[in-house]
Amino acid sequence: MKSITRQKSPEDIEQGLNGFDKVFIIGCGTCTTMTKTGGIDQVAEMKDYLGELGKRVTGTTVIPTACDDMTAEALKENEKGISGADCILSMSCALGVHRMNLYLDKPIIPALDTLFIAVEDSPGYFREACAQCGQCVLGETAGICPITACHKGLINGPCGGTNDGKCEVDKEKDCAWTLIYQKLKEQNRLDLMRKYQPPRNHHIILKPRAMRF
């Protein structure tokens, strides 16, 4: 499972740092290293870019896993550079920003947009597989999630926009319901597609969602 990110445009990053002269840059050694959006090399490139913008970079670090509790320790090790900065530029995903925000009082500006949580289907190909809806239907849909894999999140079968197994929003995208149909047919369980699925409960757990174990 990986958090998939994309770097904001240089203009957006410049805008985000408006009014801050001294910046400390923090990358992440896990997801954003793997997606090459916030690893050692990208942090170094960002340092150069901020130099071009006339900013002073008080230091950089790449935290092993920015979203976990070891981050407290990593921030302490970089206390000097951080204390000299006006803000932090984060090159972790938003989960890392949340973690850092627990320990730092300074503004944290994200350099990345967090797009989705993915599984790696094949090396380098990441796909959203679960929308965390709280009402898992995978047992009835041959292990393919219609909430996630169907553009409209339909649970009662395909819409009229499906064409030769592809989706109306993008000819490259598979129609989730064609995949579900094919696999249920193979499993001799097509009767599951005939079952009426009632409207979903969008408040299985009230937002903001949290749970203690």
Binding site: H151, K152, G153, L154, I155, N156, G157, P158, C159, G160, G161, T162, N163, D164, G165, C167, E168, V169, W177, T178, Y181, K185, L190, M193, R194, Y196, P198, P199, R200, H202
Partner: protein, 294 residues
């Protein structure tokens, strides 16, 4: 009291419906003109609901305009833009204003339209919307609360006989019939052999099937549709027939093809009626009917 459209469906006659597209803006002149032109020639008029996800004057507004002119509206209702509360509320409103027919659609995806950054709702799907209507007719909303005054609609849905693979569509068709769909409007059909095979399958179900007739206004359009529009197959002979016509006679040829198709469907009692979609050329619908001998 049953709607005029429902009476037509149940009368055993060959039913004819068509549709009007509301304007993008407040100038209703053209829509009123189309309503006037068509209202006495058909058994019902669909009003599209932000067709192809393009924002327009609302379907319910178009339906009221048809009522005002003495026509019989069929309100298209998609699940793309409204959650269940808004859909239920609009059904209550429509019923009180004399709109008695609803076509339940899931709705096109938002990114195919002209508000590409809008949120697609899809809180319900077409099937759940059908069920919702039946539940509201029994006096209850989706929250399980009693309604002070229920609704009554002739409710229908759509089916795509040329979809590939077809079986998932047929499974959904059967679910819609079970949910109480009284009629179906099909996606455009051009190959009558294929459509007859679909009708052999659909005939035993207790519902009415109106074949979708989309006017082919040029060979280019026909080619585009068969290559790009999901669930539409235009046989090569029809594309050839259109391309052999001189450019200024292509539309007339398209009208002739539509009329011929309708006449065959009626003569051979292949289905219960037709739903004619002229897509921006509503003024030629009377010509199509004339070409069909209706």
């Amino acid at each position: 009291m049953a709607s005029r459209f429902k009476e037509a469906l149940n009368s055993g006659k060959f039913v004819i419906t068509t549709e009007v597209a509301p304007p993008k803006g407040t100038n209703l002149e053209k829509m009123f003109h189309h309503i006037d032109l068509l209202k006495d020639k058909v058994d019902g008029m669909n009003v599209t609901d932000h067709q192809s996800s393009v924002m327009r004057f609302p379907s319910v507004g178009g339906c009221l305009a048809i009522k005002e002119q003495g026509g019989e509206p069929i309100m298209q209702m998609t699940c793309r833009d409204r959650n269940r509360m808004a859909l239920e509320a609009d059904l209550l409103f429509a019923y009180t204003r004399g709109i008695q027919n609803v076509l339940c659609l899931t709705g096109d995806a938002v990114p195919v339209g002209d508000h590409k950054e809008a949120k697609g709702v899809f809180d319900l799907d077409s099937l759940q919307l059908l069920k919702t209507i039946r539940q509201m007719e029994a006096g209850q909303d989706l929250g399980g609360n009693n309604l002070d005054g229920a609704v009554e609609f002739c409710a229908g849905a759509i089916v795509t006989p040329e979809a590939q693979p077809i079986e998932p569509q047929l499974i959904k068709f059967e679910k819609k019939v079970e949910a109480g769909a009284e009629f179906f409007q099909t996606q455009a059909i051009y190959d009558l052999e294929n459509f007859s095979r679909f009708m052999d399958y659909a005939r035993p179900f207790k519902t009415k099937i109106l074949a979708g007739i989309v006017l082919l206004s040029s060979a280019r359009m026909a080619k585009y549709m068969t290559e790009n529009v999901p669930g539409i197959f235009v046989p090569q002979e029809l594309i050839d027939e259109l391309s052999q016509a001189p450019k200024e006679e292509m539309l007339a040829k398209g009208i002739e093809i539509a009329g011929r198709t309708i006449a065959t469907l009626k003569k051979e009692s292949i289905c219960d009626g037709v739903h004619i979609m002229a897509i921006g050329r509503e003024e030629v619908v009377p010509d199509i009917l004339a070409a069909a001998g209706l």
